[in-house]
Symmetry: C2
Subunit: 690 residues, 2 copies
């Protein structure tokens, strides 16, 4: 091998040096040869052929684009990263036009390029808000030029001191009957819009959420379009103070911004008026007919977050599983592996503690997959129902989506870090591809409803459902799985697990029943504390969080378990059915084991059964271990997306790490280490002083 | 307020805008007025006056140095960060000389400046290795010029494919009797030294760990000094291929490097020969008399890691507690706070779920404090004992230090992220000071013994102790707390918690007994599985990890509990004693609750008792809540160290966030957002192509 720098400062490596021992390439081949199923078949089953074809088609275009190259980013500071991102955005629009990319094509391209940047919120929240909340006239004014990128918008809701509590926003939009305008104003420093993606340096329009005030009376937050910058000069218009809020842990290509408005006047038609209106002549306010409709959109966004959490887990665990199948460390003294009649070090993935850390994440990815699919289906059913005036499904799907958003984002964020640590020292290199994945994923835990706060919405609904079913025992359940498990609990609150052997931890119906019972028990305790002991809501927040989590885990087990029992695609493919059943078993057993204290506290599981459960988890790790590489292969995440020396499909880990090292621009400079000298790089201009 | 940019690109904020509501400054004053003890007294008790005086003295010097400024770093790319770090290192040496800083002074300065950079490993591992393992002659050759920075060294142990398994290192040092030299060589690509701090661009010497080979026979890894670069030109010497390994998640000012050696010859006196020697005439190898001595150094390093974990927790929780006392969100409907006769939003710190996330971390910081103190004491006792030939204390202190290293690093890394999330959206800004703290702390989990792997060393010792005490019931315990709890378990393995009321969770002796019993039970199960069921070691690694964690938790409870019972400083100061007892109770109860499944599985704790325990945790959160700000104040971490808009001592959070935003250099440029244009910044040279 003789890899050379692409960047200045060549380091020439000695010729003919190879990695010691069996190559990573060969080790992955051996792993793949042990598959009990076809990774390709599993991929088609999971994603559908259309999705995979789209991925191949888009990948071929994006991975050869210089503007989408992922190399230079590693070395850039904030300003360069922002410019790199802006370049990517421009090239993206041009390519989308050139190839006539559909919305799905564009989503695929964004997924693969994986560089959220300046136009991100323009393409999502801005256009969605105008589309959903604007009138026909407003679509013409704002949406059409936005789709042509003639204007660039952003969505300005969060303020410096108000994120979670939208009702507490300080920005006001006061109706001025004399001129038929709204005056949008920031009454304090903390009223400044803050964190607004694309606002800092890019957008020329904003959908500003402001407290509507008419004749001194407040009507709560509503959306207003506020022009921000001169379209040509890009200078802020009078009365707008705008800037980027500075660097963050990730998302460095995005210009999250702040905005202070000083008595800015906008015309009447800049109030987005599809659902609520202010009569321009009388100043009379009309409120939306169905304010619940907003919850429909939320469940759609959260279905996307569950699917995206699946992809996040898949990506992190692909890297970790492949690398741990290649990395070797220590000879196993009890059972040494032998090659060429010599004991060799053990693949790290053979260590049970590594399996315990990684394989449940693999199983979770499939659990998230099935629940993501179910959520999109429920969203569609619900939209149809609401269109015909039926809002009965909304509460349950919205509550479950809140609980799931909380659980999957926390799980996925933590899982990236678990996978990174399982890669040992090299996990800390940006070459692993996991540091930046983690940094960019973290906001998911906080935005779209803080994942800790949000559990209150879910549990409030669960408690309400519990009370209704409790007070009227003859009430028939509404058909939701939530009502079903609560009813079942109420019928037999002394239920015990029917488990005598570790082999009994297998039937999806048993797990569905167990997770339902445990969630119902936690809800029952909460209702008792709140209604009988009269505990304050605040004092119960930790238990509320736990109950929401228990419900979300039930939903995951329910969707995954039902797929194992009934899914057509699996029934037709026994090899896939078998490996998915194994993953289901691991997911259910591992989750039950980590939550064993709850299951025991409810009296459902005995200490002896908890002990059996733990050995069942151990057993399942051994069962799934040989399928780990084929399973991550089935996620079909291309090297371009993984952007990881450790997770490469070809297993050439060590050459890739060297390749990464010799690209480091610092290697082109020698440094003056004499502490009395103010010269840093030799030959560079010395500093004025140290 | 009229804050102006220090960097180009002024954004002028509107005059006279203030944050809405009660100011952060006032809110912190109110918090501080509620203290049940003096923060200053607690600080003196924890650190000693000498330490606090040193901090004040050094802080006054370092915080006004431009080379130690923490502002510019936020915006820099890798190359600029490295240069910033090198500048810091040079200025540091000059200042240390100028002020005659002692080792403690320098450690304090590094702690406050918080910029690990190019000379870091020179100052620590390189000089320590030469000092500990070199002869007098070698001290003269290498140590003396190192202390004067005439040569810069690094410590080259880890290789591309070998980190944890030091015995598996590939680099060889072969004795060449003809010339009385060693030939140091990298036989493969994976033999490359990797991750070596200071090697990439800085060091001119390395202590290379290599397999000593004499006459075809291997004697295991030994340390050799290998000159790397020409002292003047900084060019690598012949046969050395050297470079920086590229960017990482953190530590971007440090040039972690790689090194391939191609048959490099070094003289006989470059083998560090204090403990083992090669006779230059006969080639005869003498092995070290007391190879265990190395473990002494390890326990010292780990005591430092426990103390540093305390500081890490203290820093993260200081930021989060102060900000959550200032941030308000939602009116508490059950019990609205009222100001000026209007309901106001609740301080986030009043929410029980926020308390549940933050206050146990506060309590852990104190737990780590007491154990850190105990470890340094044990290290000294042990060094004295070994000097007089007594190695009896070594095994126990080494095992406990392994278990503690694992637990405290994992706990601290996770805690930073918990604190960051508790700050909501602003926690994601680099202005919070937590993103970079996390990024720089992470390696602690992996280095100095991977925190997952390392638990094997601890548990192996625990199992051995168990077997010895089990097989000889009359054997008197060796006086270690480990032996004492195992003996107590063996005498009564059916023990139950004597708890009838939540108030019973209070006596330190009860907690010490409980944590000892639980650890012993886990060890007993492991011994049974290994010795009777003949399970493989590998199959038990998860339980081995858990047993080590249980032991480490016992040690933390033991040291903290004994301080509550006996510590002189506390006995003399009832106000401090009381608040430390509260923190102890919370630490012990919270830890027991999170591990409740273990305590229940052993039969020690019943479901009812577990339920009582949970309400005790809730109760303690309420007790400690009013003391939270005074408690974090007692850590005495200056604003310069925290480097956080959210954690400022004066509470001026929102002004500080604005100050951070307007410094962003991007705010000095307007951008061309026309997607057909290859111009990015307006007026900048357009790109050749998009």
């Amino acid at each position: 091998m003789s890899v050379r720098f692409e960047l200045p400062g060549n380091v020439e490596l000695p010729e003919n040096l190879k990695p010691a021992g069996t190559s990573g390439k060969r080790l992955l081949e051996i792993e793949r040869a042990r598959a009990s199923f076809s990774s390709n078949d599993l991929a088609v089953y999971l994603y559908g052929q259309e999705y995979l074809d789209r991925m191949a088609r888009i990948l071929a275009i994006v991975e050869r684009e210089e503007a989408f190259s992922k190399h230079a980013i590693f070395y850039q500071g904030r300003s360069e990263k922002f410019r790199h991102g802006l370049r990517k955005e421009k090239r993206f629009v041009a390519l989308a036009n050139e190839h006539g990319w559909t919305r799905e094509d564009q989503e695929m391209a964004e997924f693969l390029i994986d560089m959220p940047a300046a136009f991100g919120l323009h393409k999502s929240m801005w256009t969605t808000t105008i589309r959903n909340q604007g009138t026909e006239e407003q679509h013409q004014m704002f949406l059409e030029p936005s789709l042509k990128y003639e204007i660039i918008g952003c969505y300005a809701q969060t303020e410096l001191a108000h994120g979670s509590n939208v009702q507490g926003l300080e920005t006001t939009a006061t109706w001025v009957p004399e001129t038929k305008e709204f005056e949008v104003h920031s009454p304090s420093l903390t009223a400044s819009k803050w964190w607004i993606g694309g606002l800092g340096r890019t957008a020329d329009h904003a959908a500003v959420m402001a407290q509507l005030v008419i004749n001194g009376k407040r009507y709560g937050p509503h959306p207003f379009v506020v022009p921000l910058r001169d379209i040509k000069t890009r200078e802020p218009l009078p009365g707008r103070t705008i800037g980027d809020i500075g660097p963050k842990v990730g998302y460095l290509m995005t210009d999250n911004g702040f905005l202070l408005l000083d008595h800015v006047r906008i015309p009447h038609n800049h109030f987005l008026a599809r659902y609520s209106q202010v009569n321009p002549d009388t100043g009379e306010y009309t409120k939306p007919a169905h304010p619940q409709l907003a919850y429909g959109t939320m469940t759609y966004i959260r279905a996307g977050m569950v699917r995206s959490a699946r992809d996040v887990l898949a990506r992190a665990v692909t890297v970790a599983v492949r690398y741990c199948a290649i990395r070797r460390q220590f000879v196993d003294r009890d059972a040494p592996q032998v090659e060429d009649q010599r004991p060799v070090e053990n693949q790290v993935l053979n260590y049970s503690l590594v399996q315990y850390r990684l394989l449940p994440i693999l199983a979770q990815a499939f659990a998230f997959h099935y629940t993501g699919v179910a959520m999109y289906r429920q969203y569609n059913e619900n939209q149809e129902a609401m269109a015909s005036g039926n809002f009965s499904l909304l509460a349950d799907t919205h509550a479950s989506s809140s609980a799931l958003k909380s659980l999957v984002t926390i799980t996925a964020a933590n899982a990236i870090e678990v996978c990174r640590r399982a890669c040992g020292g090299h996990g800390y290199s940006l070459a692993a591809g996991m540091g930046s994945q983690y940094a960019d994923y973290l906001p998911q835990v906080t935005w779209e409803g803080d994942s800790y706060m949000l559990t209150q919405q879910a549990t409030k609904y669960l408690m309400k459902t519990f009370r209704a079913l409790y007070s009227d025992k003859n009430r028939t359940s509404d058909g939701s799985p939530t009502a079903a498990y609560i009813k079942s609990y109420l019928e037999n609150p002394q239920q015990k697990a029917q488990i005598s052997y570790s082999g009994d931890f297998h039937n999806p119906r048993m797990f569905i029943e167990a997770f339902g019972f445990r969630a119902a028990h936690m809800i029952a305790l909460l209702v008792k504390k709140r209604d009988i002991e009269r505990r304050s809501w605040n004092s119960l927040l930790t238990e509320i969080f736990r109950a929401s989590t228990a419900h979300a885990q039930f939903v995951l087990v329910w969707n995954f378990g039902n797929a194992i029992l009934k899914d057509d695609g699996l029934q037709k493919a026994p090899a896939l059915q078998r490996v998915m059943q194994q993953c289901f078993d691991l997911f259910a057993c591992y989750t039950m084991d980590t939550e064993a204290a709850d299951f025991q506290r409810s009296g459902y599981l005995s200490s002896e059964q908890a002990e059996l459960l733990r050995s069942k988890v151990d057993e399942l790790l051994t069962v799934i271990r040989p399928q780990a590489v084929p399973l991550v292969d089935s996620f079909k995440l291309p090297d371009y997306l993984l952007n990881s020396a450790l997770g490469r499909d070809d297993g050439e880990v060590y050459r890739a790490l060297f390749d990464f090292a010799i690209r480091e621009p610092l290697n082109g400079t020698r440094f003056n280490v004499d502490y009395t000298s103010s010269e840093l790089g030799i030959g560079e201009e010395p500093l004025a002083k140290l």
